[in-house]
């Protein structure tokens, strides 16, 4: 089986603060990590590789320093990795990113499944996985909490959605987005770390993927960020005291005053 895992390097949001004046992230001195949801995608792909045989290739689109998450993936047990990096990819929104990642999957060829984390903790869009599936014109199963069965032809997976669990079957090749319920990611191994230090990681740019500058990066992004703003912090509030009956009736009055309907 040929599995691809798409990972993203993100700032460790546990360490990020917001600049209150400018409404932007203060990224100085914040460590970069593999998007935590992607570790479940990687584990799921490796789990099925270990079961069925084959190889797991990890890809990421990002600046040259994003290579470190690929080495981390190799230390956890991925077979190889490709960095998708080019100045022409900079400033991409989810559409341009997906278009580029899909081109990389096509370039790899004969891929059986592409695994994504359910979303990235920086942008939180959860769009890239589904959008890559659309670009490739492959079926997609999102929010996968459990892969029940995987063979060379079919996959049966459980989607954990608000209303319950959906059991979905799809033909391969397929795109999956994985929830943290799916598994417990393995710890990197010593041999994996030794291998990751020596691993040659190819860099694929615009021409390697047969794309043009109009389809990628800022130029290929239909989304434009107009303004980033921080909502005003909540102020005040009222504190009322009294018995439960008094408070219930007071609360009802207040809600009606605020323009509620009776």
């Amino acid at each position: 089986m040929k599995f691809v895992v798409a990972v993203k390097q993100v700032p460790d949001t546990a360490e990020v603060r917001i600049d209150p004046e400018r409404g932007t992230l203060i990224r100085d001195g914040v460590p970069s990590i593999m998007n935590p949801f992607d570790t479940y995608a990687l584990e799921e792909a490796m789990k099925w590789r270990d079961e069925l045989g084959g190889a797991v290739t990890v890809i990421t689109m990002g600046p040259p320093q994003a290579e470190s998450v690929l080495r981390e993936a190799i230390s956890m047990g991925a077979d190889d990795a490709i960095l998708i990096s080019d100045r022409a990819f900079a400033g991409a929104d989810t559409w341009a990113t997906s278009h580029t990642l899909a081109a990389a999957v096509n370039e790899l060829g004969d891929v059986d499944a592409v695994f994504f984390g359910k979303q990235a903790i920086d942008g939180d869009t959860a769009q890239t996985g589904p959008s890559v599936a659309a670009s490739l014109d492959w079926p997609q199963i999102t929010f996968v909490g459990k892969v029940r069965e995987l063979s060379s032809k079919f996959i049966t997976a459980e989607r954990y959605v608000e209303t319950g669990t959906q059991v979905v079957q799809a033909e391969l090749p397929v795109v999956l987005t994985i929830l943290k319920d799916a598994n417990v990611p393995r710890v990197p191994s010593l041999r994996g770390k030794m291998k990751s230090r020596k691993a040659q990681i190819p860099v694929w740019g615009l021409s390697d993927l047969g794309l043009t500058g109009d389809e990628t990066g800022l130029n290929g992004s239909p989304t434009k960020v107009v303004v980033t703003a921080t909502p005003d912090p909540r102020t005040g509030g009222q504190i009322h005291q009294g018995s439960a009956e008094e408070l219930a009736s007071k609360l009802a009055d207040l809600l009606l005053e605020e323009g509620g309907t009776s």
């Binding site: 393995r186 710890v187 191994s189 010593l190 041999r191 994996g192 770390k193 030794m194």
Partner: protein, 384 residues
Amino acid sequence: MDYMLNEDLLAIKEICVEIGEKHILPIRAELDEENKFPREIMDVIAASDLFTIYIPEEYGGTGMGSMALAVATEELSRYCGGIAVSYAANALGAMPILLMGSEAQKKKYLPQLASGEKLCAFALTESEAGSDAGGVKTRAIKDGDHYILNGTKQWITNGGEAQIYTVIALTDPDRGARGASAFIVEEGTPGFSYGKKEDKMGIRASATRELIFEDCRIPAENLISREGFGFMVAMKTLDNSRPGVAAQAVGIAQGALDEALKYAEQRKQFGVKINSFQGLQFMLADMGTQIEAARALTYAAAGLIDTGSKDIVKVSAMAKVFASDVAMKVTIDAVQILGGYGYMREYPVEKMMRDAKITQIYEGTNQIQRSVIAKAMIKEAKRK
């Protein structure tokens, strides 16, 4: 302090931190409370290749040696002394095979230990043979191409959990210590069973159990080295493993200091953080200094072993005695700094204090270590 650890040692450290944070922290209190062996953590340790580091590459290991083992043991001990010893006791059990085993024994057993497929334990102590290892009573009688073992080993770390045991037994009781021999005994051998599992003060995640041999027949090829070499195998094993106990002590102490520093930064009394009080600062300073000195001595001993030096007896004993005394003192002080909270099970330092105590006792009490050190010093002085 930066010890300029190479990339491999740093990788080992990172792996242990990841195992500690993700797998040990969430369950260490429960394992301690329930006296429960960390089987699932041993599986994680196996998958992360940590069992490979003390086994040469030709037998399925990564052959990184004593320093690597010390770094791993120290780092795991910061999280739980009981889990760390369950790990390190595998190296102790494998040591007789590593040091004195035949090529066939190495080929048969070491790869299974490197992969973590099987766990290992070393069995020397008996009810009447502790510091005086010469008091071993377990007998091994040659019977054709077999030996028949009879006797009981006591307080065996990883007992009941390991599948491969290196056991010291007498082949010639008339010759005392010179009549002892070392054997490999596999779990499941008829006549080999487990006795009671001990309920201990500390390192409660580790299994400590009796091994009972009743007419237990093992193949003669399981003899390590030669008849009569058992005591030498045991002493060499312990000389090589003592920096491991030292590393465990350093790790436990570091874990306690980290907790004390964290608490002293958060806790306010008289309107200020308690780490602003000089009385407490002096305690923290001593704890930090003692740990660093213990670590430096431990790394020096482990490093010397890795050079292949034969002159390791004194420094191994020094590292063990110093680091374990430091661990006891530092953990007691950590409980003191956390005050009433430190005495409560809800906080981890009382466990660390209980865990620290054994490092002064096992693999040779600190009194025995001191007499080993003194004898070595006196011998050296005579040579001059």
